[in-house]
């Protein structure tokens, strides 16, 4: 089985973003592998370690620094990488999920993977659209929000998280698109020897324009703003005061 895994470069989740000139400021800001993509990479590598997969290819779309993000994926155990280069912003401001999914489709047509593993969403735009759109373009089954994944004969059985609990879905045959949720696994650290090995792994680079995909955004971003600052809490002096406030101010207890 061949696995293609999506690797998105986003603002590190520990960074407090700042809005400048109508967009999130990306200047001199720490960027990292999207945490949900990290989970997808981990799952792909585990499939390889279980001998269920024989090749794992990482794919990233974005500026030249995406090679660093791809190196992380390679150090975690992916075999090789493809970098689709573009200077357009990938956080919805310029390139949007529709175009990204179209580019993925082109690469899938070249690579013919059996399984496409993506994060359930990018933590920059939080859209969660690339996976579903890609499966639509390819005409293959999809499962979103995977929290467990078991290779099962020619197919895959996936548990997915829903608001009501866990849903188990069996995909009888591949290819398929699966997007990964937080509880699927706990990603490993990149070890020194693997970081060194990753340096020697192949990263193919393709210009985005050469894929022949319409990259113009279909949706217009009307406004970007920071969430209003949280109202400061108050310190209460005693349990009685707390009870009083809960009863009379917040009216949450009788």
């Amino acid at each position: 089985m061949k696995v293609l895994v999506g690797v998105k470069r986003v603002v590190d989740y520990a960074v407090k973003v700042q809005v400048q000139k109508g967009a999130v400021n990306l200047n001199n800001v720490k960027m990292s592998l999207n945490p949900f993509c990290e989970i997808a990479v981990e799952e792909a590598v585990r499939l390889k370690e279980k001998k269920a997969a024989d090749e794992v290819v990482a794919l990233s779309i974005g500026p030249k620094q995406c090679t660093e993000t791809l190196r992380t994926a390679l150090a975690m155990g992916c075999d090789r990488a493809i970098h689709v280069t573009t200077d357009m912003r990938t956080d919805y401001m310029e390139l949007q999920p529709y175009a990204i999914a179209k580019m993925f489709q082109k690469i899938v047509e070249q690579e013919n993977p059996d399984l496409i593993l993506l994060g359930k969403q990018g933590i920059d735009s939080d859209c969660g659209q690339t996976g579903p759109m890609l499966s639509g373009f390819l005409g293959v089954p999809q499962v979103t929000f995977a929290s467990n994944l078991e290779v099962d004969g020619n197919g895959i059985t996936v548990e997915r998280e829903t608001d009501n609990g866990t849903e188990t879905i069996k995909i009888p045959s591949l290819p398929a698109v699966i997007t990964c949720d937080l509880r699927l696994n706990e990603p490993r650290y990149a070890t020194l020897p693997n970081i060194m090995k990753a340096k020697k792994k192949k990263v193919d680079s393709i210009k985005a324009e050469d894929l022949g995909v319409d990259m113009t955004p279909h949706n217009e971003v009307v406004e970007v703003f920071e969430p209003p600052p949280r109202k400061e809490g108050v310190m209460v002096g005693s349990v009685d005061e707390l009870l009083d406030k809960l009863r009379n101010e917040a009216a949450v207890i009788a």
Binding site: A14, S32, Y189, T191
Partner: protein
């Protein structure tokens, strides 16, 4: 962005340990022996409590005491002696005072009023910050009045990289605030969630960024203090602190590391450099201290140089304690039992945590990468991991920060904080371990009951050597005496310091006679008299008992 975002919950660790005290000497009646320098100091009475409450404008909660009968008219100040435990017992739980009066001022004027009253009435005072000090400096020896700074926690200003704040601000709150202004508080240590900046300055705390950003003597630009007579001194604090200010004797330096023996620090101005926009971290394991030192030298002088921000070492004995006591809350970045790939059957015995700070990620990564390649080629490392995001950097530090609490959760910790030439770390540790193998017969322990675990700021030549009596949470006086003698000898013979960064408090002041000459000590005493003529400030600590001189 910066790891100061981590929430450290030192307090929660404090309460989980069984209590353990009972040094008989703490139960002495006050005025006779506790106060070494001024025998005429007294114990506070109900009237003193009432008078101090008046000076706090009778604000509820400003005075906590067991001395007064609450007549129900003024304030709820009268509380049980148990609820004063928080102020009487220190973080290590080795030291316990008997204070029945705690005052919590909320302005410099109130601090001045308290100290003026105590000066006039010859009442002894213990200034208290977060109470995380490790040498028993922040709790009373007996019934001294505790002045807690916890209500003075306003951040006043951060402009041009200069932070101005009340002394009672929690270090982590300052870090978070500075971070939002893209500044870095140049001091960081495991107790950051509880300790206060006034406590940090008063202990001249070192921490993990000492090498990179310098000591608090370098970074503290101004202080406002109240001396032992109740006078307010403005030591380059207002109207505006400056990076450079050569006007007169720089008295603020005397308060840095004075452990509350000269007065109370009420406000602090701190130099906060720009927040590094590129932060990296690696965790590597080594099979010998020799290799740790090899890596240190290469990092410091050749490969990381100006981007090197922290270099901490931990032995795997302490990491086993971390694993045993905090299995569910922290994850060790590497397999500490793993055998070396590079040197046959060498086990990894030490871990190193390295952090880099810079402003250009590509540049820093290139440097880090060349460094790592080199130390791997030279077979200096057994194993290692490199943080790929900020979350992983924080995970690494969580392990380092939990070393202290893990030792404390394992047993009583005979804790030593020494400065040594780094080349001596190995033979020093070996010497202490061998001494533990020949314990005097009269202690209740054998070598098997004790574990010697080590970690520290090796880049500053600062070793934290800890002897833990596993499962036994009481201090053994005979063992204490034996171990302290061994440590003192081992340190002095290597021209080291017996207190690198934790200070003296009531724990190490007795050694001052052995390590400082008479003239120097006498000058220190004369200097103290200048600020604290009645000897009311933190008596019986820091300087040694005069009679033993």
């Amino acid at each position: 962005m910066c790891r100061v975002l981590t929430t450290q919950t030192v307090c929660s660790i404090i309460v989980t340990r069984p209590s353990l005290f009972g040094r008989s000497s703490f139960k002495r009646p006050i005025s006779s022996t506790v106060v070494s320098n001024s025998s005429e100091l007294g114990s506070p009475t109900a009237n003193d409590a009432r008078q101090l409450l008046l000076r706090m404008n009778s604000r509820p909660g400003s005075v906590l005491t067991t001395l007064m009968q609450d007549n129900g008219t003024t304030t709820a100040t009268t509380i049980s002696s148990q609820s004063l435990d928080k102020y009487n017992i220190d973080w290590t739980k080795k030291y316990r005072g008997q204070s029945s009066l705690v005052v919590r001022p909320n302005s410099t004027q109130e601090v001045a009023a308290i100290l003026r009253y105590c000066y006039e009435h010859r009442l002894p005072v213990v200034p208290q910050g977060g109470n995380t000090g490790l040498v028993g400096g922040s709790v009373p020896l007996d019934r001294e009045i505790v002045v807690s700074l916890e209500k003075m926690n306003t951040i006043h200003n951060l402009q041009d990289n200069i932070l101005q704040a009340d002394a009672g601000c929690i270090l982590q709150d300052l870090q978070d605030n500075a971070c939002q202004h893209r500044c870095l508080v140049p001091v960081d240590l495991g107790a950051k969630g509880t300790c206060q900046i006034g406590g940090n300055i008063s202990t001249n705390a070192g921490g993990v960024y000492y090498f990179r950003y310098g000591s608090l003597h370098a970074n503290c630009l101004g202080l406002e203090v109240v001396d032992g007579t109740g006078q307010i001194l403005n030591l380059s604090y207002s109207p505006r602190p400056h990076l450079k200010d050569n006007t007169g004797y720089d008295l603020k330096h005397l308060f840095i590391g004075a452990e509350g023996t000269l007065g109370i620090i009420t406000k602090v101005a701190l130099w906060c450099p720009p927040l590094p926009t590129s932060v990296g971290a690696v965790w590597v394991t080594c099979s010998s201290l020799q290799d740790v030192l090899g890596i240190l030298a290469l990092a410091k002088t050749q490969y990381l140089t100006e981007i090197l921000a922290a270099f901490e070492f931990m032995d795997h004995k302490v990491l086993r304690l971390v694993r045993a006591t905090h299995a569910t809350s922290v994850k060790l970045p590497v397999d500490i039992d793993c055998e070396g790939n590079h040197r046959g059957n060498d086990h990894a015995k030490y871990s190193i945590l390295i952090e880099t700070h810079g402003s250009n990620e590509e540049h820093d990564q290139d440097k880090l990468s060349a460094f790592l390649e080199h130390i791997m080629e030279r077979n200096l490392v057994v194993d290692g991991v490199v943080a790929q995001n900020v979350g992983q950097v924080e995970e690494f530090w969580k392990v380092r920060d939990i070393c202290n609490p893990s030792a404390a959760a394992t047993g009583f910790v005979y804790k030593y904080d020494v400065s040594l030439p780094v080349d001596d770390f190995d033979n020093f540790i070996a010497e202490i371990k061998s001494k533990l193998n020949s314990l005097p017969l009269n202690t209740q322990y054998t070598a098997d009951d004790l574990q010697c675990v080590n970690w520290g700021h090796i880049i500053d030549g600062n070793l934290h050597c800890n002897i833990v009596s596993v499962g036994k949470f009481d201090r053994d006086p005979l063992l204490t005496e034996y171990v302290e003698k061994c440590i003192l000898q081992a340190v002095t013979k290597r021209n080291g310091s017996i207190s690198a960064e934790h200070g003296l408090g009531q724990y190490k002041n007795k050694y001052m006679n052995q390590i400082k000459d008479r003239t120097t000590l006498q000058t220190m005493r004369r200097m103290k008299k200048l600020f604290d003529p009645a000897g009311i400030m933190n008596p019986g600590k820091y300087l040694p008992n005069e009679k033993e001189n």
